[in-house]
Symmetry: C3
């Protein structure tokens, strides 16, 4: 997104904004509920998932599904409950009807019988495409605060 | 809730979603502002409040009020400020006009002159019933991450 | 705000609520993106910014800009990434078309190569005035949990 947003007047409609909020609540809920297959179904078949400080990019829903399944299996084996919070959502409509979004994400975990750790702050930039009256993620780029190249911008 | 939600298309209207968000902001604000009586008035007379890892279920608004009053009095005596954040809200409309919601909650506290502690992540499942153009909680079920039976599902 | 809010029925429209949410996501994003000049432009020329436990009140956009520029320069020098999360937003429309809002804020920081610290919980009370189809902050009052006079109310 190279366009300059006017933060005091550039709003999407409440309907679009509420849909995006609900999409994220459902989507990340599936991952936290340890349903990686249903979670992967919220990405397009050709989706690209990038989390540069953690792994090589994932290309396609099958790769996203396999990666999520591995993460979930490790959490179950270790008795750890993960929660992903997304907030501070910005929505930038595109001319083709898709949406570019940017939001903050907090990842936190609680081991069985242990204490909550809020362990990383992330900037999530998505490209959401309209499908069957809803939305799917075609591109997700996650940049962890404090990681990687300090000159890399986390800006929208 | 046993129905399977399609996370990419099952959205409630922006009006309903914004009402639920505002309801929670006001409701939890009352508790954090140490107004347990006004907080209890956001539950129905016959409401049930469950927080299995912490106490026996509370039956009825009077029991909810008394429990909240006790909590607030202890916080005041100890000079501790509590904050309850709710987020990642899912809203599932029911055939009778009521709403089943699920959201994440973070409880945090700051002692006078001390440091912030974000100490527990909770999944909150509510049954909200329409009353006088607004909403009241008829059932609240709070499940703490990391507590209780590890096989207990925190799923919606 | 001295009026008593009925938390179960006093809702603003979804359009207004979504605008306020988006305003905050954009506004605080500018500060976290280290754009203090664009951030200052989200305040009115005569805005007052209070953060009693941290500094004397700032009067006017120029003072707000200078203070933000100083903060950003220190963060850059120290290699620290800040994030400001706002949530639990209450919106109280005023007779003159302006909005009084109250929300929770969490400030968090991550040093380059270091760990996330969620270090303070704040109650933010704003007066938002309508300008050119959007909103600007005329007054902001930030009260840090655990700081200052323990009898000072953080209530709306």
């Amino acid at each position: 997104m190279t366009q300059q947003i006017n933060p005091v007047t550039d709003f999407v409609s409440a309907e679009v904004y509420a849909q995006v909020q609900q999409f994220y609540a459902h989507q990340m809920g599936l991952l936290d509920d340890r349903e990686p297959e249903r979670w992967a179904d919220t990405f397009t078949e050709d989706a690209v998932f990038q989390e540069a400080s953690k792994m090589e990019p994932l290309h396609g829903r099958a790769a996203i599904r396999a990666s999520a399944r591995g993460s979930v299996d490790r959490l179950v084996a270790n008795g750890v409950r993960m929660r992903h919070w997304l907030g501070m959502i910005q929505v930038h409509p595109q001319a083709d009807g898709s949406l570019r979004t940017r939001c903050y994400a907090l990842a936190m975990r609680t081991p069985q019988g242990g204490d909550l750790q809020v362990f990383v702050s992330v900037v999530c930039k998505d490209h959401l495409v309209p499908v069957d009256g809803g939305w799917l993620v075609r591109d997700r780029d996650l940049v962890h605060d404090g990681a990687g190249n300090p000159t890399r911008s986390a800006q929208a």
